[in-house]
């Protein structure tokens, strides 16, 4: 296999028998990252189901796993597996875009183990000891950063995350600096650097609750509605270049438009979290106006994915990857765009703030945008890392089943939580004799049961997804 043959083929060197090899051997460091991502994804869902049951059988697994513990595990695993996915994507995509080997594959593998061990230890800590004990053991007093939603990790874990991120960014930046610079790789790097920079605000935890909340959103909102969108756009663009064969210039133009709209709407759109936390009232106007435009970049991603696939110049044998890319375009728009818009205007948010409506949106948005974009990338890259352009038909069929099961289950989870949320608002926040929180929860238990049932279907989807990796029979 000569290297110029490889260079000619957009998807890696390919032999007539369906075997293919990576353009750059160091791209294979992405493999452990992707495997870890999938493993943690599975665990995330298990803990989701535990919580789903606790919603209706309140004392389920109490006191072994109180709800707050299950929730930390669920949400932190989500963030960590997405980070594994982004890192794997970075290690895979940046060498290929830069047309050179990764600066240091050894460092990438070393970083992988650090991150995995730190992540696992943290989760074990959540489960093994009371949270207050964990805080004490890890010296939270020295620099208190724990006990805030999504940022529950002990301070030393946070420092570890920063170290891992720096090593990763250093490795990729050195690769790019010495190689070809493309729009896709630059947008990807901007997103990843932004991710690391905004995470630094997790170390800022003032006593003043309003200040705390104000800057907490600089991590959370500026991640999911800012820099992560850049990462998502770059990953989607990369896969679309590969599987459709459409001209890079066309794809890059889309990418630029998308990220411009993201930044124009998303940054000041942070204001939709500043309505009721003790910030000045002008945020109600600014936050509503700008965040109401945030669906635009997500809608553009939908159009982007469908347009590129319609204009495709080749039939890529990896049908599953194309399906994930299209699905991601649609579900991100539904979850972030439509479900986000639904409660983003201040007068509506006044009623829905902090209810099951929020949870419904959080689920579909995280799944549709970030879970799916990582799964898209894995679907495209894993076969190549394993030495073939696409998986066997049998394997792809199972993977596509898992796509539909997970995606449809998530649509139903979202719908049931939305129903629960609307009822909750109606019973607890409207009318002259509002019900208490706990009484309201009892009233909507029916929808929590349905959500749990949909959750089981989601889990079956995840299991099929994992199974698809073990079906390798070549069918040529």
């Amino acid at each position: 296999m000569t290297s110029h043959v490889a260079a000619l083929n957009a998807a890696g060197a390919q032999r007539a028998d369906g075997h293919a090899q990576l353009r750059f051997r160091s791209q294979a460091v992405a493999k452990p990252y992707f495997i870890a991502a999938i493993g943690l994804f599975f665990l995330q869902i298990v803990f989701g189901l535990i919580m789903g049951l606790q919603y209706v059988i309140g004392d389920f697994m109490f006191p072994e796993i109180p709800f707050n513990v299950a929730r930390m595990v669920h949400t932190n695993l989500l963030i960590v597996w997405l980070l594994f996915g982004f890192m794997g994507a970075g290690y895979y995509l940046i060498p290929e875009e830069s047309e050179r080997e990764l600066y240091s594959p050894k460092l990438a593998i070393f970083t992988f183990w650090i991150f995995l061990v730190a992540g696992v230890l943290t989760v074990v800590g959540y489960l093994a000891v009371p949270y207050a004990t964990l805080a004490q053991m890890t010296g939270n007093d020295l620099l208190p950063t724990m006990g805030r939603e999504f940022l529950e990790q002990p301070t030393i874990t946070k420092i570890g995350i920063v170290a891992v991120a720096l090593s990763f960014l250093f490795n990729l930046s050195m690769t790019i600096l010495a190689g070809r610079k493309t729009s896709i790789s630059l947008v990807m790097m901007l997103g990843l650097w932004g991710l690391a920079v905004f995470f630094l605000f997790s170390f800022y935890n003032p006593d003043n609750l309003v200040m705390d909340k104000y800057f907490w959103w600089w991590v959370v909102h500026l991640w999911v509605e800012g820099v992560w969108e850049l990462i998502m756009g770059a990953m989607l663009a990369f896969v679309l270049v590969k599987v459709t064969g459409v001209d890079r210039e066309v794809i890059e133009k889309w990418l630029y438009l998308i990220i411009a709209m993201t930044l124009i709407t998303g940054i000041i759109g942070t204001g939709h979290h500043y309505f009721w936390i003790g910030a000045p009232a002008y945020w109600q106007v600014l936050g509503s106006a700008f965040s109401a435009l945030e669906p635009i970049p997500f809608f553009m991603m939908t159009l982007f994915a469908f347009n590129m696939v319609n204009k495709r110049r080749r039939e890529h044998p990896n049908k599953a990857a194309v399906l994930w890319a299209l699905g991601c375009g649609v579900m991100a728009f539904l979850g972030a765009g439509v479900w986000g818009f639904m409660h983003t205007l201040a007068p509506i948010n006044y009623l829905t703030h902090g209810t099951q409506i929020t949870a419904s949106h959080g689920h579909m948005a995280f799944y549709g945008a970030y879970a799916m974009v990582v799964l898209t990338m894995i679907s495209y890259a894993m076969p190549l890392i394993r030495g073939r352009e696409a998986n066997s038909n049998a394997s792809q069929v199972v993977e596509m089943w898992s796509f539909w099961l997970m995606t449809i289950a998530m649509v139903f989870i979202t719908l049931f939580l939305t129903a629960a949320g609307v009822l909750q608002v109606w019973l607890q926040r409207m009318g002259d004799s509002p019900m208490s929180f706990m009484a309201t929860q009892d009233q909507v238990a029916f929808f929590y049961w349905l959500r749990e049932a949909a959750g089981v279907v989601f889990l079956i989807g995840v299991i099929l997804y994992v199974a698809s990796f073990f079906i390798n029979k070549q069918d040529n």
């Binding site: 009371p130 609750l209 930044l263 910030a279 902090g354 099951q356 509002p434």
Partner: protein, 123 residues
């Protein structure tokens, strides 16, 4: 870039305005301790505070008005209820000082000017 700078300017203005917005919410050492107790017991893992957090248990930004200081302390000490099938809150083994501090923190939280949120006392 322009929008980022505008955001920074607005944030600067907000940081200046936050103390003026809530003149009644006074920071003391006890409140700061209470916030730490709130954090290291991960209360946000079940409850919302000013509408942010988890949606498993009641909003606590206004619990000081809804229940009062004595009820809050007695409640925390009485957990878990162990009522079969009911959602359970863990026992945190707080000292008297920590209990008072949490209550001070919740009182402080309830005095933040939230532009009239939540819509009613049930949160």
């Amino acid at each position: 870039m322009f929008f980022f700078l505008l955001f920074l300017a607005l944030s600067y203005d907000t940081v200046q305005a936050i103390p003026k917005q809530s003149p009644k919410a006074v920071m003391t050492e006890q409140v700061a301790l209470g916030k730490r107790v709130w954090e290291v017991n991960n209360c946000i893992g079940c409850h919302t505070l000013l509408g942010e957090g988890a949606y498993f248990a009641p909003e606590l930004g206004n619990v000081y008005q809804r229940r009062g200081p004595e009820f809050i302390k007695a409640w925390i000490q009485a957990q878990p209820t162990n009522a079969p099938g009911r959602r359970q809150m863990p026992q945190f083994h707080l000292s008297q000082e920590e209990l008072d501090a949490v209550v001070a923190f919740l009182k402080y939280s309830s005095e933040i000017n939230t532009n009239n949120w939540p819509p009613n006392i049930e949160g």
